[in-house]
Symmetry: D2
Subunit: 346 residues, 4 copies
């Protein structure tokens, strides 16, 4: 039984990690850390856990964590994260970090998009990018995993095969992404109040969202050259889900069927990536509640452009679910352990 | 491994039963019957089941069902139901019926509320009312279970202990219930179109809803005398959930704490009934996605009236979840098998 | 042209007053006051007013208000309200107060429900309760109007005729009310974040909500005796609307048709109160966006109980619309001036 | 007083036209035609109009319409439309058609996208495309106006100035559009049931939606050459609104401020087109409920690409509002008559 702790457990990604661990089977949740709620029972803040998780949030105590846990999930704000992760790492813990801090190959890119130097470039070198389907082998040996963002996982998964194929103009990529409101987290903010975000839609951080850099990094690996792309995030009036509509110009003529084939080959036995047949497309209700990515493809032959739909549950495959999948890989468990929830559709 | 079939599997209660059985562990889904969709793969209609349930809907064939299944869940419209259930019953199958047909002690009551004579009063006598927490012993021996309605389970569970206690005026009961739209089913209807039921609320079938009779039947048992009560259903703009606010006048002075105690005693070890401490109340997000009923109590000492909040997920504890719980009881499995999903809160 | 100011104009009731005044025709909006946003253009906070209201919020300056305005709408928190209203009143302004401070006949009742002594009992005596359909004549002569709350207007309007008729047991009243989230205002609060209140429902302040006392005050007037009643507010996942389901036991046998007749007689020529024919009931989408109250009645003859549905738009007839209606009455304008918006249904 | 009739008045675009005409001031609604609801009062189907429009739907009678009306709005399905419009046109009526039938310069384009030959190519020649801000002069003299679609108005308005400017690569256009569910109309359909489309999102008719051809037609006019573009419609869980995110590659370096300037120049005095300052972007809640288009621009200088946000209320500026605006132009009324509703924000 893996002993797991969750730091920053009151936020939405943190508590989703808690929820998944409680039903995991191969891991035991032994610590839930929340600075501001230390001493409160988890089930007081999240009464869906009444009778299921009646442990208390504790304050952060790195020594205690190191003694009691084999692995920690850190879902902390940047400041807190940079203090605590090196300490836990030194003590020999495996760390799966849900923040943006350990997702970069190059601290310069981090600095450019986060507006401050990386706090620990040495440690960054030891981190593995936790997109399970791409880096499974490295993750197995990693002691520090930078768990990808929600927009990121969705976009990269949707575009990786076509970019890697060389069939498309990798400089023509546009990703138009729509997110549910849990993506904005649990912090109080006027724009995320019910009356401010139901029955409306907006785009935000157009051309400047940090996840752009993560997507560019990974698709550049796929392309074997530096790629820059457009990424436009939108907020839609729903709780969960990322729905990314990706556009890329084809350099050679291909049909929808041929690209579907390409994707099915690429993702062959992947349990959590579902490539739809030509003529059908994923919708959020097909995957929300599960750890899956749904991918659908339409080639617009009139224009020589592929439209690729990619969608996932931002709190599961886009955060907590992928984090647990990373844990499973790191500890040699079957990758789907604790992640077999079926999307609810309704 | 119990072999299970679901009849009427395309409706919302039917497909939720399918979903729960797919993750059950102790039962195997061997038939999914849908007259109108015979030959179609389940996952075509419900793509959340892609790769998880790729069997096809079959047309109804009682002999085939009888041979292949140990138990069938019937989620059929009234007409179809009355034809097929006697046939399956005769063939020795256990039947858990999600319609209203087998929920009554007395066919006269059925006729009064359903506007037609009961089609099989003899068989009705052999049916057991499937409210698990009240009739566990009888259910264990039953071959035909009338699975309670969603409003019904919620209301009865919320009021049973106080009615049974004799502390209240059992003729003063008012149940004001609010339902999510899945309660209206999958049939096409203008009032259930998105644009007609989002951002609005209505009451319907005021003083005439059929579930009234079920609630009266069971609370009359609790009271040991005939009870009539007000039941007002409302439609609220959400997918899942029944939220019942119940009012009953106390005949003796009691505090909130005392009634909470009474309820905690009554429901002692029940895994799926969660009585909240005085000062806290259940909300739908605490229970939707789980098989739980949340119950909270406030005594209005100024008026000598108890207000009892009871809520559940209408598709789980209000339909498919309770049906599976009934199956577990009938087959001697631990009652919670396949029903341990944690409410998602988000 | 009436010169009007709005104090506390950034809140939801305040800005709705602004919006109604901008389309009023007989009144001109000359001051919008917001302490915390002084100097900001109204249309920066509420871009729906771009090009329509580009004035700036100003800090509160009672002298300036007194000079520039004929009437002020105060939508301030309690503290601010009690300072400023006496000052404005002294200066000869007409004041329509949207807070709870000037809605009571008796400061003792205020103190009991608000937990502190009334700050100006003398001024309270001069205030008129602004439920237009009941106190039209007094309002015409008033200089200070206590504009009723949203739950209050809905509940009183729904019950007044039956209570006044003497046909019912006025001690049996139960009001089960459901509110949209704008009712909770614009203040940041975790429970009103989108992800915390969509797809769920809760009851709150059961047996203790302050509006209870307002409803009791007015229905006691109708009854000619002191009445106490149950009032249970709920939060539903929608922006606007109060939907009150009211229960009252009949002392004499009456049919639905007879009670509808009684209500139609009582509300005869009222433009903003719409009593539905027997057999039909109002829904929120029938009235949201308008200044109307929709009322529907069902007599449950089995139980001798009337169920009365009353609903309105909490920001219009439940706040800003009624406030403007009060202004119209006070200044001798046709009562419907600026209030003829048709509910949008969609 | 213009005498107006609405044909196909029960659909969502039809009833919105009715609602706008009822509050218009310069026009009188004299006929509301609905084949399937002839004899029913309008307010029975749409109780928001109780006491406001108690006329009955009538069956279609072209002679009666011709005698009683000066102008008709036709919101009919294709079949019905092609029968009745020529007849009404011959009788000298002005016709504003909300269907797709009279929006094309070239019947060949119509045939290509609608899959059937145009039924009346001669009449098509006499029709004017009713995008008011572009064709105001022609509309003034027109007797038949093809009222643009919702996606269309939003997309064209958003892209016209940049395309016309010659600054951009007109062959690089991608429009990613999100629609509320009223856009799908009132017809019964499973995918538009509440439970099927709340809390989810989907793309549909990718690369094949008919509105593509309308957008291409108009932007080709702007460009002075044939343009083909990508248009991807999505369904989002909200009632009203089109939110189009448009991408176009710049051929010359320009800043956001420069493009905003270009747009402000182009739309100079337009009352219903609101170009946002650099640094701010429109959201649906800023415009839903009004006849406005909100336009915002961000230049991604890193990529040399402009991202243009355009949004509107699909039932107002995207259908009924623009139709009324067309009527105002055709009859020489101030263009904003009856269209001054302020977006509600809340």
């Amino acid at each position: 039984m893996i002993k797991a702790g969750v730091l920053g457990a009151t936020g939405y990604a943190g508590i989703e990690t808690v929820r998944l661990l409680l039903g995991h089977g191969g891991a035991e949740l032994v610590r839930v850390v929340s600075h501001s709620n230390a001493g409160t029972r988890v089930s007081q803040l999240y009464p869906n856990l009444r009778g299921i998780c009646d442990m208390e949030f504790s304050a952060l105590d790195a020594d205690d964590i190191a003694e009691s846990c084999d692995v920690v999930f850190t879902a902390l704000p940047h400041g807190a994260s940079k203090e605590v992760i090196p300490k836990l790492f030194e003590k020999g813990l495996r760390v799966i970090d849900l923040s943006g801090d350990f997702r970069y190959d190059d601290p310069v890119v981090y600095e450019k998009w986060y507006g401050q130097p990386h706090s620990d470039p040495e440690l960054l070198k030891q981190a593995v990018y936790g997109l399970c389907e791409l880096y499974r082998d490295k993750i197995a040996d990693a002691r520090l995993v930078g768990n990808p963002g929600c927009y990121t996982t969705c976009s990269i998964t949707g575009l990786y095969p076509i970019v890697k194929s060389g069939l498309a103009d990798n400089h023509s990529i546009i990703i138009d992404a729509k997110s549910g409101v849990t993506g904005a987290g649990r912090g109080l903010s006027l724009p995320n109040m019910f009356c401010e975000c139901t029955e409306t839609m907006k785009a935000y951080k157009v051309a400047t969202h940090r996840h752009t850099s993560e997507i560019e990094q990974e698709l550049s690996h796929a392309a074997g050259e530096d790629i820059m792309l457009s990424f436009t995030p939108h907020l839609a009036p729903m709780k969960r889900g990322i729905f990314a509509t990706c556009y890329i110009n084809l350099r050679e003529k291909r049909t929808t069927e041929e690209l579907v084939e390409l994707y099915k080959d690429f993702y062959g036995g992947e349990r959590f990536i579902d490539v739809y047949e030509a003529g059908s497309l994923p919708e959020l209700k097909h995957i929300v509640g599960s750890n899956r990515v749904g991918i659908g493809i339409v080639v617009d032959e009139r224009l020589g452009r592929a439209v690729i739909i990619s969608c996932l549950d931002n709190l599961i495959k886009g955060a907590a679910g992928q984090a647990v999948q990373n844990m499973n890989i790191m500890f040699g468990l079957p990758e789907e352990t604790g992640l077999e929830n079926i999307a609810s559709y309704l």
